[in-house]
Symmetry: C2
Subunit: 527 residues, 2 copies
């Protein structure tokens, strides 16, 4: 018989869940829903962390990855870097407690920011193999080795073992070693492809991959580290009123002008006074004395007053040359174009879009290939939900001379590379494989693609014109003997003489044309 539950009984059952237990039950949120994707996620989380740490410490990164079979559907994964290592006392929480991180609180362009990723590796390992994960951190003086698990009910690290010794070599770095359920594949959505793509977008990194099927080395293409992205305050555009209220609650500044100029980026004294004026608030008011109505007006004014774009040094796009070199190295083609948008904001977070296109022979793909990146990290899954895919399929590529079915990528030998960089990438899930469709972000991707697309369009139409010219010339050539014969009769010159002259003219045309063709065909780059 059904037993009806009363309000009292329903309430009794209410209990608190730890975030670790939540993720254990929902491990697919972290990218662990099937063995193939799970193995990739393990490698990705570790490599992303290594690159971030090296970049912050201004060290040219060398990352070594081992993936080794350890039984049926079981793999040992080891990732070793030459970064600064992590202070030993912080290792347990950094790897064994969810929602603890060094990067969440401040706005800075990095790959990992959520305080979740690497803990997911430890959780997934203990869940699927029951084994702890080994972390070795080498700081200048000491080497510490931890074996860690996570107390899922409490969201606290369990230190299974901890050894330390002197660091004889003095070399720093961090190593993570774990055993997980997985499946190793090669192809589009694979560890190998992920590492290949990451080396395109991070050419200053050296990556060595010891796969179950052999060794791959992705060499360092430049020794130039990208500039370190700066930490930044939120930009006033798009900051929600709820966040503004909290900023007011927490601020130490005692008047509106210092509050606006110190707590936000891109607001000078003049803009601050303009904002106050528009909101009819005295610039000397203590922000804490504002009423809800006044805060509402302030919020509206902040979005209306014309402000500078966010400073560019908070973002570190791939420079155009490196981007071109990267795509050229992996995708030889006839034509390249690049478009880099200026930084703009969504919800107060600065972001920027850069796009590279590679087109034509020797590329042979029938449908365009879309390479998605977020903060220079390749996104290999969840393409359908990604703002990049949405923008790229909504664009009318027929405008640029390509054929396209509706809501699809164009049918052309084309590679489309899109990199969205931001101080806060809005991933569609904690597994960080797609970018959420905030309208501002989708719009910027569209504009960048259109900019690069227009350059491509000019090339495509030139190539079509040259092709038509050539067809016409071929027809003329075919008739040239007959033509020479008639001309000889009319001009009373010898047929041979006429033929020679005609050939000369045709060849001259050919030489000029081939110059033009060469210019167009051989790796044309429009930036």
């Amino acid at each position: 018989m059904d037993h009806a539950i009363t309000a009292e009984e329903l309430a009794e059952k209410i209990k608190e869940i730890s975030i670790a237990e939540f993720f254990e039950k929902n491990r697919h949120l972290l990218g662990y829903e099937n063995p193939t994707k799970s193995l990739l996620t393990v490698v990705k989380e570790a490599v992303d962390n290594s690159l971030d740490a090296a970049l912050e410490a201004r060290i040219l990164p060398t990352v070594k990855v081992w993936v080794k079979e350890a039984g049926q559907n079981r793999y040992k994964v080891k990732v070793e870097d030459n970064g600064p290592g992590l202070k030993p006392s912080k290792v347990p929480v950094a790897f064994g407690k969810f929602l603890v991180g060094s990067k969440f609180a401040y706005l800075k362009q990095l790959i990992g920011t959520q305080g979740i990723g690497i803990k997911g590796v430890v959780l997934y390992a203990q869940l699927t193999t029951g084994k702890p994960t080994k972390i070795i951190t080498k700081t200048k003086k000491e080497v510490h080795e931890f074996e860690l698990m996570i107390d899922v009910i409490k969201n606290e690290p369990i230190i299974v073992s901890h050894k330390k010794e002197k660091n004889e070599s003095g070399k720093t770095g961090l190593t993570i070693e774990t055993e997980v359920e997985g499946r190793y594949v090669e192809g589009q959505q694979s560890i190998l492809n992920y590492l290949k793509l990451i080396s395109i977008a991070n050419p200053y990194a050296e990556i060595i991959f010891n796969s179950p099927r052999g060794k791959h080395v992705f060499k360092r293409a430049t020794k130039k580290l990208p500039p370190l992205p700066r930490e930044i305050k939120p930009h006033p555009y798009g900051v929600e009123i709820g966040k503004l209220k909290r900023m007011i609650m927490l601020t130490k500044h005692k008047d509106m002008v210092s509050f606006l100029t110190k707590e936000f980026s891109s607001v000078g004294k003049g803009s601050a006074i303009k904002i106050c004026k528009l909101a009819r608030i005295d610039p000397k008011t203590n922000p804490k004395n504002l009423t809800h109505k006044e805060i509402e007006k302030l919020h509206q004014a902040m979005n209306k007053v014309k402000l500078k774009a966010p400073p560019t040094n908070c973002l570190s796009p791939i420079d155009e040359e490196s981007l071109l070199n990267g795509i050229k190295k992996e995708f030889p083609a006839q034509f390249y174009s690049v478009a880099v948008r200026k930084p703009t904001v969504y919800r107060g977070y600065p972001f920027q879009v850069e796009v590279a296109l590679a087109y034509g022979e020797p590329l042979k793909n029938e449908q365009a290939m879309l390479l998605r990146f977020a903060n220079h990290t390749p996104l290999l899954y969840n393409a359908g939900e990604c703002a990049i895919t949405k923008a790229a399929t909504k664009i009318n590529w027929r405008n640029y001379g390509l054929s396209q079915s509706s809501n699809s990528l164009p049918n052309a030998p084309l590679v489309i590379l899109v990199d969205v960089i931001s101080v806060w990438i809005p991933y569609t899930s904690e597994g960080k494989q797609a970018i959420a469709s905030y309208p501002e972000i989708e719009k910027e991707i569209t504009l960048a693609l259109q900019e690069a697309g227009r350059k491509l369009g000019r090339f495509v139409s030139k190539m079509k014109r040259l092709h038509q010219l050539k067809v016409r010339k071929n027809i003329f050539q075919a008739y040239s003997t007959v033509f020479a014969e008639y001309l000889a009769k009319i001009t009373k010159k010898s047929e041979d003489y006429i033929k020679k002259k005609v050939e000369e003219i045709l060849n001259k045309g050919e030489v000029e044309e081939s110059k033009e063709v060469k210019k167009e065909k051989q790796e044309v780059v429009e930036v």
Copy 2:
């Protein structure tokens, strides 16, 4: 100048983040990435909760929804139900603290289980309008009205106001009233369509929608409440070793047989002994004394011994008649087929797939329309990432006589309804709009679709055969006069006599055929 960060400095920055702050920064994870989707999410979270509460309390639900414009891109949303209400003292945490819930801890088929959804509404409201959300709970004796916000830094509720009075009417229920940023649309991904689809899959519910453009009533189609799904223990198949270890750590049972029979579903004494034998463990062993090696063997044995499927009363599929009535009501067609799979398990969680197909006139859609449901709730977003979409597009529908481009839905006047029900739906994000691609789940969806597809295929091929017959008959009829003439000459009977006979035969054929056609054409149902 770049300032290199040392291990020590990096570690200092590590800090703990509250889950509320995490979701505030990542509001897109909860379904709030653009105004249109956000408004739908607000309504969906409230309606889902109302249906769950009514079902648990065995009350036929009546849910009233108001959406009203309140300024540019601002809407007031109110959802009122006739459920049991919620115990007033529990209201603040139930609505104002993330990862607290009544449903997370136990395995039971319900719409809401995460301890997240409805808190997202309160968070999104305060973030985008700065306003608290009003909750009115009516239990039999009292009416309590709360205005709530969330302290994001602490993940704790803030009670802005609290009033109580006697419940004069004695009617119970819960009302939520909030003001949010949003955009109201009608169409596929809209509140209106969401409510229409929910009424198909939950025909016992009455839903009244006062939209900004007018009133819509979705009437109750049956007074029969579905049986209350039972709470259940995990099934041994697919339970990860990490989870098994924790179950062993937490169990109160002191020997293997009671541990296995009491902590799992579908394990009788016989199966428990078989499992122990296969794992070479004495059935009398205290589980807490098992070594890691023994637990590994136990884990393998649990997955190898043949066990009963999970009990069916933990899942409450829509009964076939209701499913057919629902789809017939909204999608009149020539042919229907239904397939309901038996419950099976992924990761120890029982789940079940049911499928309904509607095909042919008056349906006119060129490409099949896919309706996705999880625990009888429609999924309107993130189709590309959903296990249902993946299964439906991977199937070779050409086997069933339909045309199809590769990796697409078939091109046919077809509606495909798939409902996945489970004690734990693995949503791809906290926004609960798509089901993660666990291999076991995708496989069951595929099998269900193939089962229904084969029935459809028989109908399609019969229809094709009948069509060919008709074409042949028409040709024969066209030649019948000539035929009669020749026949008359040969048989020496009068031409008129022969003509009459031929016509008789043809008509007889037609009568029989039209009987068959009628049988096939008029709403054929294969179950």
